[in-house]
Amino acid sequence: MRNVTVVGAGKTPFGAFADQNLRSLAVTAGTKALANARTGPDAIEAFYLGNFAGPQFTSQNHLAPWISTALGMTGIPSTRFEAACASSGSAFFHAFMAVSAEIYDVVMVAGVEKMTSQPTARVTEILAGAGDSLTEVLVGSTFPSLFAMIARRHMHDFGTTREHLAAVAAKNHENGALNPDAQMRKAITLEQAMNGRPIAEPLNLYDCSLISDGAAAVVLCAADRAREFSDKPVRVMGVAQASDFVALDRKQDITTFPALRAAAHGAYGMAGVGANDIEFAELHDCFTIAEIVAMEDLGFVERGRGGFFSFEGGTRRNGEKPINASGGLKSKGHPVGATGVAQICDVVQQLRCEAGERQLKRHSLGLAQNLGGSGATCVVTILGRD
């Protein structure tokens, strides 16, 4: 295994873009990542694409070569990875492994989703496809309802409150308001976050991430060649992926994600660091409760304390452990297949000290955590300055 660096990163803004299609979004992000790495398509030896439901959202299949050729790459392996909301995290993990194993020196990982061309009920139906179609989906479970059931049980077992959930939403909106690429650049009060339209009780509109269009891309490179491409390469210190049951009712305890704990264990081990060493993180807040469970499973706080820690301000930009300084999925937006790589772009931006008003004081070691479904796939990545 050799060291691997991120030498280029690029994203589209996230939002609803009627004039953009799945491919044009991915091409925009990929082109930015190449420019950021001071290189062109000829340097790329393999293309890894994360996408959850392009075929259902847009009727287009065979997405990876459809996109890579539009970026000017031909004659290289171009492959799509699908792992629900962890699709591009999974693509990143596999790309890392190939560079680390000395199969390639330079590869691109992109993630993309185009969701806003469908009405909300249809989007809800497509997203439910990340659950178990033979059991929970058959009954009428939606994605929000699965996380609502996690929230109910977390409240029951640990005393997490409705206010705690609202504090996560308000904090992420506060951060997203400062992010020029965020979909919802609007601060909200705790009271607003408490009183949104109900979606799946106890979750309301403000507990749920957004329906978004967007793409993100990074160029990965063997560490010994990093300086050819960047003056500020970022080292992938550790990365791991793990899996678990797709159906929520198969899990013994739904207030924790075993795949997240396994991926965290792997990433910490590879990086040779522990939870306390991580200075900031981008966590997968598809729903407010998911951020709370993730900070517990990553060992940032004790089990059951995530809600209290959030409510006390521990995860704000000036807090002990800043989480989602980008605004998170909640405010930045959640184009499902783009999210994993977008989180990595956000961590890279902090490490390079390019986050503008959102720049954190401590920014030498960051973590990104990408969750698929109700915990069936998880990827944890630890990044540091090279």
Partner: protein
């Protein structure tokens, strides 16, 4: 599916769905639960008929609607 034994259990968690997928859009709001079953062991996801239930409530299976496992408070 073998003998149609009436299943009983305890509510492990619950939610009330207000925003449904297309095919269930006409049913909202409806309650979905995960039930810890008394016998077979294990858990299943099910709908609730009638009165709303809470965690730790006892429930009993009713006739399933269109193959959807359905329980009510016992």
């Amino acid at each position: 599916m073998g003998v149609n034994k009436i299943r009983t259990g305890t509510v492990y968690t619950e939610t009330v769905v207000h925003l449904a997928p297309e095919r269930f859009a006409g049913n909202v709001p409806y309650q979905v639960i995960i039930v810890s079953l008394d016998e077979a062991g294990g858990r299943i996801t099910a709908r609730v008929e009638g009165e709303r239930v809470a965690i730790d409530d006892r429930v009993v299976e009713t006739e399933s609607l269109n193959g959807i496992p359905t329980f009510r408070k016992s």
